[in-house]
Assembly symmetry: C2
Homo-oligomer: 587 residues x 2
C-alpha cells in the first residue's frame, strides 16, 4: 500500500492552455503526465501505474492467443528501411539519429532512424530465425515506445512524438493460417478492451498504405475522435468512413430503359451541380452525373458519381494506382476538350480518349434513368443521358461516401455515423514484406514459400487517454476498476490521530490482500480538498475514516461513479471491503 | 505455463565471431538476444523474461526505500542540455534526432537528443513540481532505455548503443537528508543484487565529471571486467582504481632529518627513473622524486611522486581544475628551465615559479629521507634532498596509484586487486544541477534554498549479462533461481504419449501454483538434444519424465548447478516439487 505523503501526486486547479479536449485537460489536472516538449510527456507516478496496468492486461490477453513477447531496438539501421517497401513515404514522419558531437564529420557516422513500427526489423529477424514449416505459425509482439515526427502534435497523448504501442507480427505458412492468426488477434483485442473497461468497436477498415488484404480498426466512440464510424448496431455492421459501403443500389436493379435521344443544351455560366439544380434548368442533383478527373500514376482517369453524392477519395485505392491525385484544369482540357464545369463521359465526346487510364463509375449512377451531364464543350450540357446506352464506362465500383440513413450492406438496416478514436488496428498483410526481405520457409516437400504475415497495433498510451475521454465527469476521471492507478483511496480525516490511522492501515491491508491497490490519503488537508482530489484522480472506491462518523462507529464507502454514501459499522468494515474487492476483481 | 513448441527459443551451436567473452557468447548461443546492428540487440522472448524479472526485483527493492517510479521521454529538447552543466562533453557520446524526410529543411525543425541519463530533464521537472520543504525529500526513478553513441560497441550488452538502465534522482532539503537518501539507495542496491543472486561489491569511487561529493560503484567481480577493484575483504575496504588509497605512509610519520647539504651532480643522458637506478648512479626508485608537469585550466602545475610510484591521473580531480592534461615539452621548458628528464622542485631552482598553479606532492614522498631529484638543468640531478627543507611544496595529497599488498586505510590489512564489471553507481550530487536549473524550495521561514540532489544508476541490461558472466560453465548458463527465464523445465521424453504428457502438465501446474515459472519441452527431439538445450539456456531445475524411468514409476529431478540426479517416485513427485519450489521462492 502507498501513502499520499510518501507517493507523489500533484493535482492542478486549472489545465494548461494547450489542452483542448477533456481527456487532455484531465491528464494534466490529475497529474498523470507532464509536458516536456511538443508531443513529449513524462508519465508521472500515477499515469505510469495506469499504463503499466493496461500493458499487463494487454500481455495477458495476447498470450492467451499464443503471441510471444520480445523487444526490438528503438534505433533502426537506415539500411533496413531503405530495403523495405515504404521508406520514401514513411521517412517524412520519421526521426533520423546520428552523432550529436560538435566536431564529428556527420557523413562518416552510421545513421539510424527511430522506429515508428517494426516490420522492417522483425521480417529480416524472422527470415534468419525461422526456416521450416515446423516452426510456423509464430506471432511476436512487443510493448514499446514508438517515434513519429509529428509536425503538429496535439491532444496530449493522442498525437504525440513518442508514444507507447503494442505491435505484433504474425508469420504463417499459408493464407488460411494467416486468416486464423488474424482472427485470433481480433479476439484478443476484444478481450483486452473489455477487460480494461473500454467500449471499442471493431470496424472494417481500408488497408491503405500497408497494402494488406483486409483490416479492422478498433474505435472508441468519442465526439472528439478524428474518425467516422458508419454502423448499424442491430446488423453488427461497422466500417470506417474510408471503407464504409451501403446497399443503396439493389443487387437486382435492372438497367433503365432510355427515354429519348440525348440532347445538348446551352448552360452558359452554369458550371456546378447547384447551378443546374436552379432555374431555368431545374435538374435534381440525383439526376446529374458528376464527372471528376484524377491522375493515376501520372495518367488522367475519370470518376463518375451522382451529382448529390460525394467522392470518398480513399476508395480510389481499389483502382490499383500507386499514387493518385486530383487533376489540374491544365491537365484536363487537352484530354476532355472542356474546362471543369462542363465535363462528361458521353461516348464520342472525349477529345483524346486514348490518353485516359480509364472511366470509372460509382454503382449509384445506375439509379439514374435519364440524366444530365457535361457535353465536354464549355457552356453546354447534355440531357436524356442513359447510363448503358450513352456513357463510355470502363468499370463500375464503390467510390461514393456513404450517408447516414442508407441501408447497411449486411441487413439493409439504416446506417448511423459517429466519431471515434482509433486505438487499435489489425492488418492481414500478405507477403509484401516477406517477399521484400526474403522471409521464406521450406515446406515438407523442400519447397520455399514466402511467409504470410499479419501486423497488429494497439496504441497503449492513446488507449490510456481514450479511457479518460470515455469515462469522466465534471469532477474528474472515473477509472474503470481494472486500470485504476489505485482501486481504493482511504481518506483519513485526522491523519495525526493514532486510532483512525491504525484502522485505515488495517482496512487497506485487508483490501490489498483481496487484490486491490490502495492509497491512504494521510495529508494534513481539509476533507473537502481530499474529496476533490480523490474525485479528480478518479479512484473507483473511497473509504472515509474519521470525524463524526467514526465517533459514531461508522466509516463511509463511496463509489466514484455513484452519488450515495454507504455507511458501514467499523466492526463490519473489513469483511464488507474484502467482499467488495473480491467481487470487483473477479468481474 | 509455456510449452517449448508454442514459445520461441532458438539455440545456436556456435557463437558469432564478434562474441569475445563467455557471457556474450552465451547470450547469443542461448538465444537471449539477436544483433540488429552494432550495439543494438533485440531481446528475444527468453532474454526479455530475464530482463523483466531483474526489473521487477529492482522496482520492489527501490520502493522499499521509498523511491517513486515515473517515466521520462527518450527524446530530449536540446535546449535542456544546453542549459545544463555538461553539454560540451556529453554531446560527443550522444545522438541527435531530427526529421528523416527527404525534402525538409533541417534547420527549421525542432532538434532533439536521445537521453543517456536524465538529470537535465528531471531537475527542471522537479523545479516546477516541488516548491515547499513539506514535499521533500522525494526520490524519483525510472527503468528505461538509454542511448549512447558508442564509437566501438562491444561485449554484447556490456557496451551497447541502446541499453536499459534504472536511473534515480533524489531531492532533499539539506545535506544531511541527501546523505540519508544516498545510504537508503546504497542499501536498496545491496538488497537488489543479493536477491537477483549476483555478487556485487560496493566500492568507493571517484565523483569525476558528475562532480558530487561522494560516490560508490557496484562492481561484479569478473576477469573480463573493465575496472580494477582494490580491496581487503576482512577489513571491508573496497575502492575502484581511481579512488583507492592505502595506509602506506603512517599517520604519525615524523619528518626525516636532513643528512647533508644538497649536492648537484652530472647525469648526462640519464633522463628516466630506470637510468638513475642503474650504475653508475645506483639510486633506488623509492629514493627518487619524480616531477611531473600538468596543465590545469591552461596553467602548468607540478606533481611530485616517488620514483617507484605511478601517478593515478583521476586523483588530480581533487585539485579542483575543470580540465587537466599533461603538459608538452614546449610548455615545460620556459617555466622550469629544463627539459623533461631533469625536472625537480628544489626551492629556487624553478625558472618562472610565478607561472605555476602550484606544486603538489604525494604523501608517499615523505617516506624519502634523503632523495634525488632533477636540477632543472638539462643533464644534472641533485642528491641529499630533504622534503621539508628543500622542496617548494604547495600542498600534499593522494596522487599515487595504490599497489596490491599495501596496507588498507581501514585496518592496515594487505590490499588485493581484482577486475570487475561496473553494474551500478550512486552519487551524492549536491546542488550542481539544482542551482543550474533553479530547483529551489522554500523553507518554513520562507527562505529559498537549492535542493540537494543525489543520482543513481543500475545497468539493468548490463547486469543481465554480468549474471551470466558470473554464473556459467562449459555447458551454458546457470541462472540464479530469482531471475531465471523459467525456474523449471519439464523435459518430456515422449511428448506424443498421452500419459506422460498429462503428468508433465500436472507437475508443471503444481510448480506454478507454488510460484515457479515452468516450461515443458514438448519437442519431438532426442533426449540428448533436450538435455543439452536445457543446460545451455540454464534453467535451474530440470524434471525429466519418460523412458525407462517412468516405466519404473520414477521421474528425475536434476539441478543445473549440480551433478547428481534425484530419482523420485511418481506418487511423491507433486509433493516434493511443491516443497522445493516453496523453499526456493522463500530463500
Amino acid at each position: 500500500m502507498k501513502t499520499w505523503s510518501k507517493f507523489y501526486i500533484s493535482t492542478l486547479r486549472d489545465s494548461p492552455a494547450d489542452a483542448e479536449i477533456a481527456s487532455h485537460k484531465l491528464l494534466m489536472r490529475a497529474g498523470l503526465v507532464r509536458k516536456l516538449g511538443g508531443g513529449l510527456y513524462t508519465y508521472m507516478p500515477l499515469g505510469l501505474r495506469v499504463m503499466q496496468k493496461i500493458s499487463k492486461i494487454c500481455r495477458e490477453e495476447l498470450e492467451v492467443s499464443d503471441a510471444i513477447e520480445l523487444w526490438m531496438p528503438h534505433l533502426h539501421p537506415v539500411d533496413n528501411w531503405e530495403q523495405g517497401p515504404r521508406w520514401a513515404a514513411a521517412r517524412e514522419i520519421m526521426f533520423r539519429a546520428d552523432n550529436a558531437g560538435a566536431n564529428k564529420g556527420r557523413s562518416r557516422e552510421p545513421e539510424f532512424v527511430l522506429g515508428p513500427t517494426h516490420e522492417e526489423i522483425i521480417t529480416p529477424l524472422v527470415k534468419n530465425e525461422i526456416t521450416s514449416y515446423r516452426d510456423l505459425p509464430k506471432n511476436f509482439y512487443q510493448i514499446a515506445t514508438k517515434f513519429r515526427n509529428e509536425i503538429r502534435p496535439r491532444f496530449g497523448l493522442m498525437r504525440a512524438r513518442e508514444f507507447v504501442m503494442m505491435d505484433a507480427y504474425s508469420f504463417d505458412a499459408n493464407d488460411e493460417g494467416a486468416t486464423k492468426s488474424y482472427f485470433a488477434m481480433k479476439d484478443a483485442y476484444k478481450r483486452f478492451f473489455k477487460r480494461i473497461g473500454v467500449t471499442a468497436i471493431a470496424v472494417e477498415a481500408d488497408t491503405g498504405v500497408m497494402g494488406g488484404s483486409f483490416s479492422h480498426e478498433f474505435m472508441v466512440p468519442a465526439e472528439i475522435g478524428d474518425d467516422d464510424v458508419i454502423y448499424n448496431e442491430a446488423s453488427g455492421y461497422a466500417a470506417n468512413r474510408e471503407k464504409a459501403t451501403s446497399a443503396l443500389v439493389p443487387a437486382d436493379l435492372a438497367d433503365a430503359a432510355p427515354i429519348g435521344a440525348i440532347e445538348e443544351f446551352a448552360t452558359p455560366g452554369a458550371t456546378t451541380i447547384a447551378a443546374l439544380e436552379a432555374a431555368p434548368y431545374n435538374v435534381k442533383g440525383s439526376e446529374q452525373f458528376k464527372t471528376l478527373v484524377y491522375m493515376g500514376d501520372g495518367k488522367p482517369f475519370l470518376v463518375i458519381i451522382r451529382g448529390n453524392d460525394e467522392l470518398e477519395e480513399a476508395k480510389l485505392g481499389s483502382l490499383g494506382f500507386t499514387l493518385t491525385r486530383a487533376a489540374t484544369a491544365e491537365e484536363i482540357e487537352p484530354v476532355l476538350g472542356a474546362k471543369p464545369g462542363s465535363l462528361g463521359a458521353i461516348k464520342g465526346s472525349i477529345k483524346d480518349q486514348a490518353a485516359l487510364a480509364g472511366i470509372f463509375a460509382d454503382h449509384a449512377i445506375r439509379l439514374i434513368g435519364n440524366g444530365t451531364t457535361g457535353a465536354n464543350k464549355d457552356g453546354f450540357h447534355v440531357r436524356n443521358v442513359n447510363v448503358t446506352r450513352d456513357l463510355a464506362i470502363t468499370k463500375f465500383g464503390d467510390f461514393r461516401r456513404v450517408r447516414p440513413g442508407e441501408p447497411d450492406p449486411k441487413n439493409g438496416q439504416p446506417l448511423s455515423v459517429k466519431r471515434g478514436i482509433e486505438v487499435g488496428h489489425i492488418f492481414k498483410l500478405g507477403t509484401k514484406y516477406s517477399e521484400k526481405f526474403g522471409a521464406v520457409y521450406t515446406d515438407d516437400a523442400k519447397q520455399n514459400h514466402p511467409m504470410v504475415m499479419g501486423c497488429y497495433g494497439i496504441g497503449i498510451s492513446r488507449t490510456l487517454q481514450a479511457v479518460i475521454e470515455q469515462s469522466h465527469d465534471n469532477d474528474g476521471i472515473i477509472w474503470p476498476w481494472a486500470v485504476a492507478p489505485f482501486q481504493i483511496i482511504v481518506t483519513l480525516l485526522d491523519p495525526s490521530v493514532a486510532e483512525p490511522a491504525a484502522l485505515a492501515k488495517q482496512l487497506a491491508e485487508v483490501a490489498e490482500k483481496a487484490g486491490a491497490d490502495v492509497i491512504i490519503d494521510d495529508r494534513e488537508e481539509r476533507p473537502g480538498v481530499k474529496f476533490k482530489d480523490a474525485d479528480l484522480i478518479g479512484i473507483p472506491l473511497r473509504i472515509t475514516i474519521g470525524g463524526k462518523g467514526l465517533a459514531a462507529g461508522i466509516i463511509e464507502l463511496k463509489w466514484r461513479s455513484k452519488k450515495d454514501v454507504i455507511k458501514v459499522p467499523v466492526a463490519e468494515a473489513a469483511e464488507q471491503i474484502a467482499a467488495i474487492v473480491r467481487e470487483m476483481q473477479s468481474a
